[in-house]
Symmetry: C2
Subunit: 461 residues, 2 copies
């Protein structure tokens, strides 16, 4: 029997309504002790998945008129008896209700504890549980899709199947150990080799997807470089504000949430601001320029802004140091302040840096000229493939690390099969591979791993 836990599950702050969630055996009885249904009935007598209007009082004091939703038996998110209280969204009321529930014997839930209970009660595997947090944090079409796919479970199911097959083999090999004097082979080495090949490919594909997955989850890294006065911040503000406006229309979200990432055309970009390069042009080895170079290195896309009103000789001087760093990057040359330059001069700029393989665009950040086109080019440069319902993409560093460990182990198994190592070493390598696969699916989990995973959830989930 598990303790009754409770938490405010809706976002923090004031709103029209807030939802407080309870889970654990005794949740219904606990709420019954403070709730008077308008119908006069006790919640204990009412069926699952029904909603009831009534009042919650703290002794004589009426605290709120609320809706109470019942989830009986195991028919809930957590797989245990649960109650949701939908109250008026006053911070004071939320706080008083929480205090009252705790006085009545509930315990404040830890971060992610509802999902952890759902995992413990077999409602889903560990990678699905982790996807719940990703889904809540998702802020673009791609990150939403990837989290949704993972929550629906294709990914871990496949790994669990492969792991089960390995288990059969390792059992047979360990049986051989018992008969080691008789030199029998219960496990078909050829089929085992086939299986390891299949596992290697499967894991490799998943591990390879991490680069894309990480970009989707954290945002495609875009470095904006250029001199200090070329209009970088005007452009950044322009893009960020547009995004902010879209978000604010519906939610009134704060600047904090957006930070310096932005969703453009369904793709999340993470903009990396760099120090202007002008100051350090004559002392190329200074810290400043080195830092800018490191930032360019982290980026997939480099936005190089050039002020069309400044002499291009200077830019070309700079180019010699910058150009080598731009290999393997998607580069966009942004010629800014186009409104200040006669049209006939544009051609001169288009021919600038001919050796550089880059998109070239004339814009005016200030007058918002061609900024739509910039967004299109960014989305194209991000090259996020469209993700189908069944595409599995690894976004989680923990999974990526376990996959790499599993990959090493499965390669040792293959090697061992090729060189014909002894039963015991072979079985040990297989067990290790199984361990890392199990870490991902949660078939193997320690308190520490679980604590680590669920502490990153928000309270109330």
């Amino acid at each position: 029997m598990s303790e009754v836990i409770c938490a405010i599950s809706t976002p923090p702050g004031m709103g029209a309504i807030a939802v407080i969630r309870l889970s654990g055996e005794g949740s219904v009885a606990l709420v019954d002790s403070i709730f008077q249904a308008a119908s006069g009935k006790k919640l204990e007598s009412l069926p699952s998945h029904t909603v009831h209007f009534g009042r919650i009082s703290d002794g004589e004091e009426l605290l709120d008129e609320v809706l109470v939703t019942l989830f009986r038996g195991s028919r809930s998110f957590t797989g245990e008896e649960s109650v949701e209280i939908s109250c008026h969204g006053s911070i004071y009321i939320q706080q008083r209700l929480m205090e009252l529930l705790i006085t009545q014997g509930a315990r404040m839930a830890e971060a992610g504890e509802f999902t952890r209970r759902a995992f413990r009660n077999g409602r889903f595997d560990l990678s699905q549980a982790e996807a719940v947090a990703d889904l809540i944090a998702s802020s673009s079409r791609a990150s939403h899709r990837v989290a949704m796919n993972q929550m629906r479970g294709g990914f871990a199911r496949k790994l669990a199947e492969l792991r089960d097959k390995l288990l059969q083999f390792v059992s047979l090999i360990e049986l051989e150990l018992d008969f080691s004097e008789e030199d029998v082979e219960f496990a078909n080495r050829e089929k085992l080799y086939e299986l390891t090949n299949e596992i290697e490919q499967e894991i490799q594909t998943l591990a390879d997807s991490f680069r894309l997955g990480n970009a989707i989850k954290s945002g495609i890294p875009v470095a904006i470089i250029g001199e200090t006065n070329v209009g970088k911040s005007t452009l950044l503000n322009l893009l960020l504000n547009e995004e902010k406006a879209i978000v604010s229309d519906v939610h009134g979200t704060t600047r904090d949430v957006i930070e310096d990432t932005m969703n453009i055309g369904g793709v999340m970009f993470r903009f990396i601001d760099t120090a202007g390069i002008r100051q350090t042009v004559d002392a190329i080895e200074t810290m400043g320029i080195a830092r800018t170079f490191r930032k360019i290195e982290q980026a997939s896309i480099v936005l190089w802004m050039i002020d069309m009103t400044t002499p291009r000789a200077q830019i070309e001087g700079l180019a010699t140091s910058i150009l080598p760093t731009l290999k393997d990057k998607q580069v966009i040359l942004l010629f800014n302040k186009v409104d200040l330059i006669p049209d006939e001069q544009r051609a001169d700029f288009a021919n600038l840096l001919p050796a550089l393989n880059a998109d070239r665009l004339f814009i005016s950040a200030k007058r918002q000229q061609n900024t739509d086109q910039l967004q299109e080019i960014l989305v194209k440069a991000a090259a996020i493939p469209s993700i189908g319902e069944d595409d599995v993409i690894v976004t989680n560093l923990r999974h990526y690390e376990s996959l790499n460990s599993a990959l090493n182990a499965v390669r040792r198994v293959k090697e061992g099969l090729e060189t014909g190592i002894t039963h015991d070493f072979l079985s040990q390598d297989i067990r290790e591979c199984m361990f890392y696969l199990g870490e991902i699916t949660g078939q193997i989990s320690t308190e520490e791993i679980l604590g680590n995973i669920f502490s990153r959830f928000c309270i109330g989930k």
Copy 2:
């Protein structure tokens, strides 16, 4: 038939879950078109007050796994068919679901539109509707209690009864107009006079409660005065942070919400910071000191902080200008930095300003010495009476203004009865009194008044 409206009803931002609410004929059919219940059933076929798990898709794209709650017929908050969608609290998902609902024909709800519909559908009167907003904004035991009492409706019901009685009399008096040549009196003047007396008293009591009500709702105004270095901000931060910590434990609310009000011992205080007085001491008529005086005037409580390490001669010089402003105020003399002064010197300070009727307290704001005692003294000085379940307290400026207008009108009626004015003037004054009473209860309401009231609600309520 009313349009289907929709809004995110939970606080803005990311959380474990968010709730989107729809109301209006066709809400259920609208959600049916995008929702696939896990049971395979259509929502249209399912009973009111039940909850259903399933998926919401935008065409082929799975958007989220959600819980849908049905409110059929008039058994909802708004008094019309309603649906609540409880989704994962990702900002992206909330936004996509809203977009999808709007594509399907719902309209984004205006601020307070759900409550406005509830009012229109006779679920409660206007003062109750307004109490919903107050309840959501309530941030102390007293403001919560006052809003809850008002939401339960004692206040407007009484006024509506009185208004109905007036209506009977005015009908009779207007009937007399038709028979004016015959000089009959259908309306018993004595009973009418009794009624106007009763109404006058009732309104007077309500209007008188506004001073308390406003203090409860906006916070008891406390001016903190003193020189610049006496420790005012240390004290303020100390008090504000303690409050912030309490709130943050549960919600992680932001500084913005608290501003410079704080809840101490269940009472909301509004602290009014004043400019230090030192700079303007030799030019008493300057703007600065005048502003401080105006702030003292607004306050119910004045916290006068005195740095015990600075010469008191200076303070006494200041006192001559300040003392006259402190009449009718609760004054607390706070001797700060007590830790820097030997105990035996305290007595000197206790005798300072002997003419001033004030609580005196030695504290160290920095070392948090005696600050608990300060809180106790503040709560005592606030003198908020304990509010019973049936106590009616006006907190709303609109009500206060209507009450004052009604009071003037009813006094004219009384006067008219005393001086025996003609039927038509009498009936006009009664009608006017009825008008203002009706404004409070919502029996009389214009689009403008309603628009004004509900625009102050949050979206989703």
